[in-house]
Symmetry: C5
Amino acid sequence: MLHPSYAQGRVRPNRGIPTRVLHQMSDQPAPAAPTETPKPKRQRRRSRKAGLPPGTLVHIGEPRVGPVTLQFMLFNAEGCLEPSLANLDELPGLLNDNQICWVNVSGIHDLSLIERLGALFQLHPLVQEDIVNTEQRPKGEDYGTYGFIVVKNLSYAVQDRHLLTEQISFVFGQGFVLTFQENGNDPFVAVRDRLRTGRGRLRTQRADYLVYALLDAIVDNYFGVLEGIGEVTERVEEQLLSDPKPEILKELYSLRRCALFVRRAVWPLREVIGTLQRGQSQMITEFTRTYLADLYDHTIQLIDAIETYRDIIAGMLELYLSSASNRMTSVMKVLTVITTIFMPLSFIAGVYGMNFDYMPELKSPLGYPITLAVMVLIAGGMLWFFHRKQWL
Amino acid sequence: MLHPSYAQGRVRPNRGIPTRVLHQMSDQPAPAAPTETPKPKRQRRRSRKAGLPPGTLVHIGEPRVGPVTLQFMLFNAEGCLEPSLANLDELPGLLNDNQICWVNVSGIHDLSLIERLGALFQLHPLVQEDIVNTEQRPKGEDYGTYGFIVVKNLSYAVQDRHLLTEQISFVFGQGFVLTFQENGNDPFVAVRDRLRTGRGRLRTQRADYLVYALLDAIVDNYFGVLEGIGEVTERVEEQLLSDPKPEILKELYSLRRCALFVRRAVWPLREVIGTLQRGQSQMITEFTRTYLADLYDHTIQLIDAIETYRDIIAGMLELYLSSASNRMTSVMKVLTVITTIFMPLSFIAGVYGMNFDYMPELKSPLGYPITLAVMVLIAGGMLWFFHRKQWL
Amino acid sequence: MLHPSYAQGRVRPNRGIPTRVLHQMSDQPAPAAPTETPKPKRQRRRSRKAGLPPGTLVHIGEPRVGPVTLQFMLFNAEGCLEPSLANLDELPGLLNDNQICWVNVSGIHDLSLIERLGALFQLHPLVQEDIVNTEQRPKGEDYGTYGFIVVKNLSYAVQDRHLLTEQISFVFGQGFVLTFQENGNDPFVAVRDRLRTGRGRLRTQRADYLVYALLDAIVDNYFGVLEGIGEVTERVEEQLLSDPKPEILKELYSLRRCALFVRRAVWPLREVIGTLQRGQSQMITEFTRTYLADLYDHTIQLIDAIETYRDIIAGMLELYLSSASNRMTSVMKVLTVITTIFMPLSFIAGVYGMNFDYMPELKSPLGYPITLAVMVLIAGGMLWFFHRKQWL
Amino acid sequence: MLHPSYAQGRVRPNRGIPTRVLHQMSDQPAPAAPTETPKPKRQRRRSRKAGLPPGTLVHIGEPRVGPVTLQFMLFNAEGCLEPSLANLDELPGLLNDNQICWVNVSGIHDLSLIERLGALFQLHPLVQEDIVNTEQRPKGEDYGTYGFIVVKNLSYAVQDRHLLTEQISFVFGQGFVLTFQENGNDPFVAVRDRLRTGRGRLRTQRADYLVYALLDAIVDNYFGVLEGIGEVTERVEEQLLSDPKPEILKELYSLRRCALFVRRAVWPLREVIGTLQRGQSQMITEFTRTYLADLYDHTIQLIDAIETYRDIIAGMLELYLSSASNRMTSVMKVLTVITTIFMPLSFIAGVYGMNFDYMPELKSPLGYPITLAVMVLIAGGMLWFFHRKQWL
Amino acid sequence: MLHPSYAQGRVRPNRGIPTRVLHQMSDQPAPAAPTETPKPKRQRRRSRKAGLPPGTLVHIGEPRVGPVTLQFMLFNAEGCLEPSLANLDELPGLLNDNQICWVNVSGIHDLSLIERLGALFQLHPLVQEDIVNTEQRPKGEDYGTYGFIVVKNLSYAVQDRHLLTEQISFVFGQGFVLTFQENGNDPFVAVRDRLRTGRGRLRTQRADYLVYALLDAIVDNYFGVLEGIGEVTERVEEQLLSDPKPEILKELYSLRRCALFVRRAVWPLREVIGTLQRGQSQMITEFTRTYLADLYDHTIQLIDAIETYRDIIAGMLELYLSSASNRMTSVMKVLTVITTIFMPLSFIAGVYGMNFDYMPELKSPLGYPITLAVMVLIAGGMLWFFHRKQWL
């Protein structure tokens, strides 16, 4: 139930990630869904790489067996094509200076595919290694002729409080953009629609603007996650202020962990976008930089919000603990009041229950009523005392 | 009940924001007050923007339906005019080099109006987008021919402990200042008066000084908010030191949250003003920079005060918890004292309540008085013991 | 009872600040002491300034009505004069290149006086505004022909745990030093003596060295405050380690707040002195800079000490809470031991107090002694058990 | 049980470190295993050095008596030799420009050996001193003709929650690499295999790349340690959420300490690798720098993960304490409910157990059943009350 | 009992500091030991200086009356002399370019001696003032012709948990080193031995290397202090894990304070050595800088260790508090179990102790055994219930 490295997929175990198969490479039937193949957890261990030469491709992450799909989009100001390639070797033919080619790979566990793409686009072995290792920390690197970006795509299921993490890598250069996702949720649907319909400036700009648009789509997802966390936090707070129950503790713990994971993804994301925007790279135009600056502002807003949530959650935990201690005290007060009232009364009853031969009170006809009256007086006095001490 | 993003309007739900309608654009009757139209909360979600091209105007924030009003002020050293325009197209005619034109927009949910103003003043699409998105973090940007500033205007209702947040955007350039507020409290009344009466240097300076004066008015509001928080803190502290009740917990929690939100608005405000003051912008004169430096000092003072309040509130929470634990212990002591005194006594009474045939004490005429005497001795001994242990 | 802004005068309300009237300007009888005029608290509010043009003089701070006194000292290496001026207009006649003129103003609530001085020395309106606003954060500013410094003078009354704060402003330039204090404790008595007697280098140096000497006097006061806090802390610690009582909590809370306020005054003071020492200002000679460096070291020492006190106070609070929890446990143990011993005994007594016709034990002559023996055995066993569990 | 300095070997005492004897220098029988020679702890004290001139070799660390072994590897693109030297004096003969010589020393307690190697490679006395002092903090230094690196090699035994620390020093220059390890776990087995088989680029590159590969092997070990900690954390969390027992406290404490130690090793490691990568040293080629940048990313990932673990562990401790307090309250509720129900009932029984002559209720045939009915009513009422208060 | 400024001498009051009188200046009998002269504490107050001109010598620190001793060492590569001077005026005769003169002053309360030395070596008045003020924060200053360093020498008595602090000042220039210590422990014994015997490089190097060697001796002392703290921490931890008693709290509090004080001495020490090493001063040779870099590493190691101790101590406190709360819960469980079992039983006994005339059960011969059986059943049921709830 614990996945502090990024590859965990989600913070709380759930029922399998819906895989959106878009364009299947081959006509083979889709393999069984991930949930049916509970490969040993050991599989996703980073330590599998220990001892291997650097640059060796090893898929690190939740074992996935869904189909690996590739999706090609070619566009320029005039139009947008979505060819279906029978073979990767046709790809170089698609690349030319008049259009931008976006290759989206869904599923990164097919290492040979990654290697072939790496060879086609002359990617550094370490880049290929990073693409298939889903435990990367978000980062951006400039390899001269192409840029490499790794970010996390998050989504949050309010219902069952699941945070799903997925790694998305970008490689972009002159006229091409490659994106690599694990086959989970596809955050790029809206961008694809804008490319097809030609809405916005997407088709008239260069590859860097497409990268911006894709990053923007991911950042927009983060806002959705924060809203989800906010909604849950709101509900928990309402419950906390009206009727705090012990279950709130686990809710708060889960919220806290979610916030921790989002924070862990957002902070380096800010760095990545800041580097892109302020960097020296020739691949980023001035036009795009303005938009990246805006995106950078969004990440700061995200950080601001997540830090606020963390503060609020901490405050709620404190409030819960304090009210728990208050409830405890009120329970103790009830106990003390009851004990303090009945102990003396029972004692008196006990005294006159003694069997001494010589107890003059017992003989008196007034003994019983006087005793009862004394008991009532004692009880009343106690109650008055507790009332004045505000225990009742 | 939770709004960690800025658009929340207020920290605790309340009865509707008093809208100060100043100069209504048309003669139509004012629409229903905000409180009467509880549009679904979902409306204010940031995620509505997901998937849209950047620069698309989407009003994000609490849904508002109050009338959108525009207010024009033209002034120079000689005088001040407040024309009522029938149509926005007359606006360009008002702009000339001899006077400064201040356009104040109250209500930002009329997107077409924002777009028309954006076209008139040639604002970047991202600026327009930011104006209508009330979840902005305070920021300042220099777009060459004009500057863009987003800040938060706060007000605090001591009575019901509400913190109201409102976003105010500034666009200013050669000879003009645009301000955009949500239609809540208008913080600019005093500045308008100074313009009308010609008090101070306001009419003799350029647009940047007006921006300074408006920012100064907002910062002065912050001091009011801090005084409000201070007043509440003071009251809570008095109650805490004299008679700490469990309700204090919720008060402290609410104070803490208010302080959190003020802090979240003040820190970036400091940055904004610091950037304005030290920036390279041609639009800020040396004269105004001196005043901005003073304003910057004020924001540091605000930060200093809010951090101190946070420390004080944390200290009070600690004190409350500690005294709660003290009270608990004193409750337990009462319980323990009562139990410890009466248990042995009741036991003795129980012993002589046994029905054994052969119990010589029962026959003795001294049995009863001696038993009572022993009981008094035991009780006295216990009391002395507890007194020595300082439990009484 | 809460004044997180500086103007509060003292952290805990007390009986009036001893005003040291030095040279009274006029022969009018001194007005009533501050304590007799409990002007509404609202008076000291910073928000009174809201809406006023910048540079408008408004006295912000505790309302004071004591006499405003001015004190003039003229000195050079040869000697020292203390003229008594009938009229402020004579002041310019005193300023010449051969001597240094120190004007000390005690009491800053006479706004017209401040304005006249401001006009005489050509002070920027914002400087005048800052002088009369006692809620300033310590700061230093260079206005070219003169320097402006605002600091806090602290004193601590160990007896009643009061921290008194007072704002002192300095304006200094070629041949003159102006100091403005609220009419509270005068920290400059020793400096005046040194000027009169000619001890040290004070009379042979320029104005900047006088400023250093005055700042040094204030910093020396801080050491006194820290020693006072240290003394109280020491006493509280002794009590905490020997006999922790609930009252300690309030003591700790008060100490914590004092430390918070001292800290809030010392940190910006360090900046002020550091800026003076390392700044480019022509008004500070190399000779004085060496001494300012020493003073800077003193402020670092102060910060070091105050942070240590805060750590120590936090540690004491923790220790108190932990021992409180220990005491609670020991109370509970007593309760549990008593209950556990007497409950079974009382039960046995209760059994043989039942009135069944057929209870063979009751008939037996050994019934009573055996029952008593069993009771003693049970009690002994319990005691042995608790002893082994180290509850006794 | 406490070793905050690095020499501690492990965080929790265990049964002796498996020593992997690779190539024994001499034919002498291996001395007794470390566990059999519990030399006084005092031996490993850093203070033994006090008073000695700097550069004096003193072995500081856990006393070790295992055999000191040396292992030589000579390689270039063509092949790889592993000569067995009878005498250290043969070593200079192996060094030439055509091949790279890697000398691995396992066991650093043979000071004369270190001194002879130091003389051969002209190492600065301080470097020799640092090699034999296992309490070094990870660091990297450039001595012009050679570089010196000290890092920690960690391994974690999930079974008994032991963290083993071992110091490894590197000296590398033109054509040679010296590594010094305490004779514990050898992390270099895989690298040796790659050298022998010629897999990867190891044999074709210069000495700096070998250093990179060895550091990479150590960093890979850290990932293993983190996975171990993660596994334990996961188990503890599961237990915490299902059935929190007091033993969890010690588990959490131990985890926290492990995380503390890993963190203490990783932070300076990051600096070391960052300095290597960005440094001016001529010994590091551009080619290797790319790989070092990748390694640097890995250390950041490690830091990220360890900080997350610390946050998670802190959260678990909080959760444990909160649920402990909840359990306490529920225990108290049971006590209160039982007491509150039976105290009044027993009192009533006590009243009718009194022996007054005149108690009319006792005579009535309905007295007993009515009394029982009243008791049932009281008990029922109490239960209903507690049910409504949600105590049951 | 509280001395957060450095002059406190020790953290916990103890029986007087052993004074090591080395070379007595005069033949007068040594005055009474410090413990016999409990001068009023007020003596050591920093505030005594308030009002005095800067540069006035005032001894601030624990009042000391031990003899002030001077010790002269003259050395060069050839040999080492330890002359005994009858009069300070002979000192200038000893200074020449061929040898280095080290003057060690033990005891700084003889102000006239300090002044005479100050005149001889032309020390700045502020330097003289700093030498006799033992509340200095460690610092290093370059006065052109000489350097001035103030550090703290610590020692820790494990037995009575005392941390002793002592201030040591260095003045060093061309051919001379002055050291000033309070007359407590002398940390320089080993250095003196090395000078006498000529071991190491000490006699062949210049004055800066001697300063390094002396600082190294002090830093070595810090390692001893840390080992002492580590030893105590270890013992406390063992006790905490096996048998946590309330006394541990005070131990932890004392450890925490010690760590706080060491930390307060080490952090500025690091700065001092770092400044020496990287500074521009002509007095430090390249040769010495290498050694200073090593010393700098040691201070970082010290900081690393002290921060780790602080973390560990905080963790132990948390563990203690958590186990205290666990013990509390277990006490409460015992109470609850006993109460819950015996309350119903006593109630039943009470019922059949009632004296109603008509109670059919009392007449039945089976009444008594059935009642006993029911009691056993109830008790058994309760025990089974508590067993299932894991309270037993």
